[in-house]
Symmetry: C2
Subunit: 334 residues, 2 copies
């Protein structure tokens, strides 16, 4: 059985509330009693429970990171930097995984006594930000945002990356460009689509509806979309993918069909995850400082908790284009 | 500000303890009062805090999954199946990430009011199992175990997989076989090394000390070890890697040096992670049912919580060899 404050009280010869008061250094308890209680607690190996401490102080120094899309590889890369930054700031990370986006999530977040939450997979139609605001639980957006509830956020600004990538693609002779876009109900898929279309327009190009596919941010989307796009009589020579994970799927589809990358098909991702630079992958992609952005989300949530009235901050991360093996000259047309 | 039970008490015109009792359906509260309290709680959007509930019931239905090795990609694949199985059993997953293995971890696990813990990255010299046992907090081992504290565990039995892989390698003409082994202080690296050496011995082969490298379970280990092994005048023709992530690093090293896989070098992994079967990777590897094993760890910890005196279970998962592109005939010697 776990040691409780009752056991400590018995050994120290004091009441149970005195144990709690002594261990949180309450001035109403004499120094002699505190010493006695501490000795008893140490002897028994007693650790005060967070539940009891939270009820007395109102603070737990626990931050939730909410991920509803737990199969998505992208999010695994933000756990370590968020953890490390929170640890530096004296807070603890609790990863909350959920399979659906609904009111139950909010009840759990609140019931778990968190000081604040980092929302990492918000869809634009999510009820979570609204409910958290109504309950007064501080939160920040990581990467994805919603327009109807304003809050601190770290976001990617994709314009510069797409401008550089499209301009390089045009220089390499690509004119027939396709896209595997992310889900319409995410701000990230929306902003990347806008930036891609704008960069194409600047170069006198556009996305033909035949050359667009759309789906969740996973390898299966990239695989199925690319298979479908490549089955057209005259397919695009370059695909912009919603993110790197989708691009890995596109590479798999090309490999399975014997389509040479980049000889017959060039592929560009988004995120520059660690595997994108692996010699066996060498994916051209749009990059930004994901680690810094994850750490900044940690900084923003602790700032919001400690300064509830601070002005709302949107921290933008600039993008650049990283050219690797999967982009080359457009094949000569037949 | 968050709504508290005090606000509900004021609106319902009852005392604060009555609110708590009414909301947990305590028989000492009349049905009329319960209805009044529920109506007030609903009107205010009040959610009872877990801290308060935990103090009254002693149970939180929260299970911690402890991962001290948060950069290791392997663990990201177990989060979803553990989460789903716990949800089915009516428990909630809290991922605890830590960067070091020491007493602080144990204090945090206990302080966070968990009902139980799944240990996923235990080293054989870890103090965590000992401390959890002393504090009476139920735990199970996932994958890695220690010999000095017995507890429920789900483990991989690597023998059959290595026997099949080595016997196939020998049939393909490999006699000079190297290994990139995992850290000596993990039970998984130990059991795989024993199984590999036994399978080689059965076939009249052994690992030459020159052909062994060792390091953490990450791509960097595979990359550096393979670079070092390939720089020998006459390198091994086949490398067994500690796991798939290490094998990806081996593939990268071979690719960077222009060494053909499998023409000049065959590579075998362990785990059969999703990417191992990607057309752009096609890694030969030793497989087992990782998803079932993760779900079983969830089942074991809830069983231990609900039946503290049940007999200790070690659930073993059998392995098999999955042959893919990265294994082929040994090159003819010069």
């Amino acid at each position: 059985m776990a040691i409780t404050s009752r056991d400590v009280a018995r050994l120290a010869g004091v009441s149970q509330p005195t144990v709690s008061r002594a261990l949180r250094d309450d001035p109403r308890v004499s120094e002699a009693t505190k010493a006695k209680v501490r000795a008893a607690a140490e002897q028994l190996g007693y650790v005060p429970s967070e539940a009891g401490r939270a009820l007395s102080s109102g603070r737990t120094r626990r931050i939730g990171l909410l991920i509803t899309d737990i199969e998505n590889q992208f999010y695994t890369h933000i756990i370590a930097p968020v953890h490390l930054q929170l640890e530096r700031l004296g807070y603890q990370l609790m990863l909350h995984t959920e399979t659906a986006d609904n009111d139950t999530i909010v009840e759990r977040l609140i019931a778990n006594g968190l000081d604040g939450v980092i929302l990492a997979t918000t869809t634009v139609d999510s009820v979570v930000p609204l409910r958290l605001r109504d309950h007064g639980l501080p939160f920040v957006y990581f990467n994805r945002t919603t327009s109807f509830v304003d809050a601190d956020a770290t976001v990617v600004e994709p314009t510069a990356g797409f401008e550089a990538a499209v301009s390089r693609a045009v220089a390499l002779g690509h004119t027939r460009i396709g896209a595997v876009l992310g889900p319409s109900n995410t701000s990230t898929a929306q902003s990347r689509e806008v930036a891609l279309r704008a960069a194409l327009a600047t170069n006198g190009l556009s996305l033909s509806p035949d050359d667009i596919r759309r789906g969740p941010f996973d390898t299966r989307t990239g695989d199925e979309a690319t298979t479908s796009l490549l089955s057209q009589p005259s397919p695009p020579t370059l695909l912009f993918c919603a993110n790197d994970v989708v691009a890995y799927g596109a590479l798999n589809a090309a490999s399975r069909r014997g389509v040479s990358v980049p000889g017959d098909l060039s592929i560009v991702g988004f995120d520059d995850l660690p595997a994108a630079s692996w010699p066996i992958i060498e994916l051209s992609t749009i990059a930004y400082d994901l680690t810094a952005m994850a750490g900044e989300a940690a900084r923003l949530i602790t700032r919001r908790i400690e300064q509830p009235d601070a002005s709302v901050l949107h921290v933008e991360y600039e993008t650049s284009f990283v050219e690797r093996r999967t982009l080359s000259s457009a094949p000569l047309s037949d």
